[in-house]
């Protein structure tokens, strides 16, 4: 029994059948790549996991929960994180704040009215975010405004944000596209130990990967 089970998923847009009878069973602690040419339906499939799209038929079960009809934040709280194809980060906030937010989400859940406590006083969150930045080698950039970084750095930041949540399933949509060679290697270095120690599956879609 896998942690992520997909049965008979169909999704069509008008007359176009993007997904047809997709069945997939993913075991804990494994890495998978979904590959295919443009328009093959890789992103559609991913979108069905994170609640962005609802399949026409079929079931998507993660860790015993059905993901159908769940909102993105609910799916994330069950343990599914996603890195987008174009970096989705909080561009007006500092790098450090970007990483703190998923830490808060992990600790406090989907909503917490902590309007009078202080970000400054959250020792555990700050330590964790700091550690994560050290892990992805971005600690020197912690006070930079996120939007002023390079695309590769933004991707690394987004990855750090997802990893900070200790997800059970990490979905990466073209994680190394647009990165410099050195950054690509860094990313791989960062991801591989994660898999080995905690055994989480990862996804990547589209194109032939340089490393898988």
């Amino acid at each position: 029994m896998g942690i992520l089970e997909i049965q008979n998923v169909n999704k069509s847009f008008g007359g176009l059948k993007a997904l047809q009878n997709v069945n997939l069973n993913i075991e804990e602690g494994t890495i998978h790549a979904i590959i295919g040419p443009n328009g093959a339906g890789k992103s559609t499939l991913l979108n069905c996991f994170v609640g962005k799209l609802v399949p026409d038929t079929g079931t998507v079960t993660f860790d015993g929960h059905s993901l159908l009809g769940k909102k993105p934040h609910e799916i994330n709280q069950i343990g599914v994180s996603r890195v987008f194809q174009t970096p989705e980060i909080f561009s007006d906030l500092s790098v450090f704040e970007n990483v703190m937010i998923p830490c808060f989400a992990k600790r406090d859940g989907a909503f917490e009215l902590n309007a009078l406590s202080r970000v400054q006083g959250q020792g555990d969150i700050r330590d964790k975010a700091e550690q994560m930045l050290i892990d992805v080698n971005m600690i020197d950039k912690r006070d930079m405004i996120a939007s002023s970084m390079s695309r590769g750095d933004k991707r690394r930041l987004e990855m750090a944000m997802c990893l900070a949540q200790d997800p059970k399933l990490l979905l990466l949509d073209e994680p190394t596209a647009g990165m410099a060679r050195a950054d690509t290697n860094n990313t791989i270095e960062r991801l591989v130990p994660t898999t080995q120690s905690s055994c989480w599956p990862k996804f990547r879609t589209s194109g032939i990967s340089p490393w898988l």
């Binding site: 996603r82 309007a115 406590s117 590769g152």
Partner: protein, 395 residues
């Protein structure tokens, strides 16, 4: 101090000092001089400065942090005022129950409007709030007249029940301390007014300001800022943005209610125009003018606009003649003809021009201007770079 970092503590102390000394600061010119026209240190205007300051501080929590531009916040101000005047009519002129009820009513009201409006974002949200506010205005103006007294405005009448009044004062008071009591201090040619109502509002404004500082620096505030910059990411990070925006909406609605309650407490009348879209637009202007998303900006913006509204609108032709009387007639009349269009009834024009200039040259509002001046004087340009704001993109 008080859970604030050093910089914020400094800012807070600065604001406390300015509000405490406002009667002096606002009246820099001798009472009999020609420049006395520009003095703003009379009780009503000082009260307005701080009350609209509260309104703008609250609005900034929603608009400055989450970026949700509400065009209907005057509805909460109005609801707060009506609630307060009803307390005066039913209980007594004591402003404590009035202010408490006005905050509660505005809070409930904003829960309803916010719950519906926040289903949409961007321009649709703005339009929904605008529609709600206009609806409230129309209802207050006519349909709900038994409750609001329509066009005339809700006032306290001599035959109102005022069950708890007993022998209490006939004017709004804080446990006997009348809001309108004023102590005038004459120092030589100068005259300064110290008004109880002003200091009461000022204390509440400081509390409101302090709370807003705490919210800005809290995890909650961080989430609100995250909503402004990328709501999608926030949702995919496991956070539900709806309750956050609703909480921000309700908090700012309660600030507006507090401001409305205070307005009624200083002057026990609530008119429907207080809910009109122009009033909602005014607080938007205040916030943008001062600097949305900054702590001090909304306060500055509120002061700026209220100053113009009350001081420039009162400069009439005869005042101008007084100023330029020394010039030859032809030049004097010409000059007055030009200036006349920018003062008195033309104060809107002056304000509009200034607003344009500020938005074009200082997109961050007056606060950006203040920052630039400070940076110029300290000559400390490198500091910014280390903060990374202007660091080159390393592609």
């Amino acid at each position: 101090m008080l859970g604030l970092n050093k910089k914020d503590t400094g800012l807070f102390i600065f604001v406390i000092c300015v509000t405490a000394l406002a009667p002096f600061i606002m009246n820099p010119f001798p009472a009999d001089s020609a420049m006395a026209q520009f003095n703003a240190g009379y009780p009503d205007l000082m009260q307005r400065f701080v009350i609209f300051g509260i309104f703008a501080i609250g609005f900034n929590i929603l608009f400055g942090l989450t970026g949700y531009l509400s065009f209907g916040h005057a509805a909460f101000l109005g609801a707060g005022s009506y609630a307060a005047v009803w307390m005066f009519k039913l209980l007594s002129y004591n402003i404590v129950p009035a202010i408490i009820l006005s905050v509660i009513v505005a809070g409930l009201f904003s829960v309803i409007i916010g719950f519906i409006s926040l289903r949409r974002s961007g321009i649709y949200f703005s339009i929904l709030t605008l529609a709600f506010a206009q609806m409230s205005f129309a209802m207050a103006y006519s349909v709900l007249t038994p409750l609001t007294n329509g066009e005339t405005g809700l006032q306290v009448y001599n035959d109102d029940p005022q069950w708890l009044k007993g022998n209490g004062p006939d004017a709004t008071h804080f446990f006997g301390l009348e809001m309108r009591s004023t102590f005038d201090l004459d120092l030589g040619a100068w005259s300064f007014s110290f008004n109880v109502g002003y200091y009461f509002c000022a204390v509440l404004m400081l509390v409101a300001f302090y709370l807003s500082m705490r919210i800005f620096r809290s995890p909650f505030g961080l989430m609100l800022r995250a909503i402004k910059t990328n709501q999608t990411r926030l949702n995919y990070t496991g956070l539900n943005s709806r309750p956050y925006t609703l909480a921000a909406f309700v908090i700012s609605g309660m600030y507006a209610g507090l401001a409305g309650g205070l307005m009624a407490s200083m002057d026990p009348l609530a008119g429907a125009e207080r809910m009109q879209w122009t009033a909602s637009g005014e607080v938007v202007l205040m916030t943008i003018l001062g600097g949305a998303g900054t702590l001090l900006g909304p306060l500055l913006g509120a002061g700026f606009i209220k100053y113009f509204e009350n001081i420039f609108s009162k400069i009439n032709e005869s005042v101008l003649h007084g100023w330029f009387g020394f010039l030859p007639d032809g030049i004097e009349n010409g000059l007055i003809w030009v200036i006349e269009h920018f003062v008195g009834s033309g104060w809107h024009l002056t304000l509009g021009l200034l607003f344009m200039l500020i938005v074009i040259f200082l997109p961050g509002g007056l606060m950006e201007g203040a920052t630039r001046i400070r940076d110029r004087f300290s000559g400390d340009k490198t500091k910014k770079d280390t903060e990374g704001k202007y660091a080159p993109a390393g592609e």
